[in-house]
């Protein structure tokens, strides 16, 4: 009895150790992969049309979901925010509430999560399928480096697309809040925009938001190309890798958001 419990505990500790070693190994592998991708960046930019093509796939094709989600998030924020603010007679701060939430947090984070599930999963599946159907191998045998031809353009396409998508998300969100707050509820448009402008700072809020979305874009794109490139070359392997991309990207966005927020806004709460 006691013997059984002991061996079960040992097995548990052993599994923890194995998982840790595995995780550290993968992290190291991913880091080397990132360095390799960056090293192949000049090759990707020399033939710009490859990267433009990936901006189309990860950026343009994500537009609809980003714009629609942004609009609705903004409208809901306005409804909920108004409900709370009006209890304190501060309904004119609605613009402030919506703009700060969107520009600082929701824009980069929600757009990043949507981007991970829309574009990140597609990138992983595409590279994984290219691997499963030996297209990556074929490229190597044709003396063409897949890191330069396939991976780097997709990575940079994502990095470029993401800040633009996040900015569009925030803009549509503020527009949605304007529709609900000003057009529907009837807040004074002067107060809505004026309070917003005096409370939102360009460098502290807008620029920090753009930096966040840029970091999220790099993280999601890296995870997506890495998981695709690392996928087992089978149908099952590709589907596992796609799921991993979405899960890991989401966790990475939320964790990075916390870290970045600590660094960016720690000086503001004087």
């Amino acid at each position: 009895m006691l013997d059984g419990a002991l061996s079960a505990a040992v097995a548990l500790v052993r599994r923890l150790g194995a998982a840790t070693i595995d995780g550290v190994t993968r992290l190291g592998y991913a880091t080397r992969f990132f360095v390799a991708v960056v090293a192949h960046t000049p090759a990707a930019f020399r033939r710009l049309h490859l990267t433009l093509r990936e901006i189309y796939f990860s950026g343009v094709l994500s537009l609809i979901i980003i714009l629609v989600s942004g609009l609705f998030v903004g409208m809901v924020l306005a409804l909920q925010g108004y409900d709370v603010l009006t209890r304190y007679g501060a309904d004119e701060s609605l613009g402030v509430l919506v703009a700060l939430s969107l520009v600082r947090e929701l824009g980069p984070v929600v757009a990043g999560l949507l981007f991970a599930s829309r574009a990140g999963s597609a990138i992983t599946a595409e590279i994984g399928l290219m691997k499963a159907t030996e297209q990556i191998s074929a490229m190597e045998m044709m003396a063409v480096d897949p890191l330069a031809r396939v991976v780097a353009p997709r990575f940079w396409g994502g990095v470029v697309s993401m800040p633009l998508l996040a900015a569009l998300f925030s803009t549509l969100g503020i527009f949605g809040a304007y529709l609900v707050g000003v057009k529907l509820i009837g807040i004074d448009p002067g107060a809505f925009w004026g309070n917003m402008q005096s409370a939102v700072d360009f460098r502290d809020d807008v620029v920090n938001g753009v930096i966040k979305s840029f970091v999220f874009g790099a993280a999601v794109s890296l995870i997506a190309v890495f998981e695709g490139y690392d996928a087992k070359p089978t149908a099952e392997g590709v589907s596992t890798a796609t799921t991993r991309t979405v899960v890991e990207s989401s966790l990475a966005i939320l964790a990075l958001d916390f870290v970045l927020t600590v660094f960016m806004f720690h000086g503001v709460h004087a």
């Binding site: 290219m130 159907t133 297209q135 191998s137 074929a138 044709m142 003396a143 063409v144």
Partner: protein, 281 residues
Amino acid sequence: MTTVADSAAAAPSAVAPEIFVELDAVTFGYDARTILDGITMRIPRGKVVAIMGGSGCGKTTILRLIGGQIAPRAGRVTVAGQAVHDLDRDELFALRRKFGMLFQFGALFTDMSVYENVAFAMREHTDLPEELIRDLVLMKLNAVGLRGAAQLMPSELSGGMARRVALARAIALDPMLVMYDEPFAGLDPISLGVVGQLIRRLNDALGITSVVVTHDVYESLKIVDYLYFVSQGRIVAEGTPAEVRGSADMFVRQFVDGEPDGPVPFHYPARGYREELLANA
């Protein structure tokens, strides 16, 4: 074409043909598992050589060794006088430009048209003007009879057509060596004959050396100059098509005649049938 092979085989010591690809006591494996165990092969320039064996016997591994995608655990792989696994990355890529490879199911780039697939290596490795690329691509496609399919996407092709497009892509840069990984797998008899004849014709017309990895013994016997039989990581038999047809070797007979049982057993190793059935009684 068999006469060429026969005369070469008849007088091997008189005029030794120039060896283009050589594997010398090559051993390869992953961790504890040994896949290839002391393989020695000599593939002469200008010949079509088949590597035959059952599924999962390490045939494809041989191609990957020749292409430098993996390095042997022991032994040497030499192509055109260069030891493949001793080359650095740039030298290896320079060598691979002289290679063409046909992958098992074609491995066409699914996001490009047939035309762009064939033009891929030309665009990547040369600065040829667009008109010249166009002419070259159409010539290669014409050689495999698919000039009319240039603007189709790979998803619109049948298995046999995809294989032929992949062949056109493999010979795009006039390689010295073309490797075929299971070129006949999953093809109907007509496509099979077409691909087989293409391999032979292109080899002779372009003066290339061909290595065909396959388990299709009938088709291979029609087109190749020499065959190696691989089983469990070793070469168990070799010879010209004529020698193979007349061989009394047990393994070759089983392979050529398609017997279910023989040196390659029908049953996976297990304990006694009777014993296992009665064990629960």
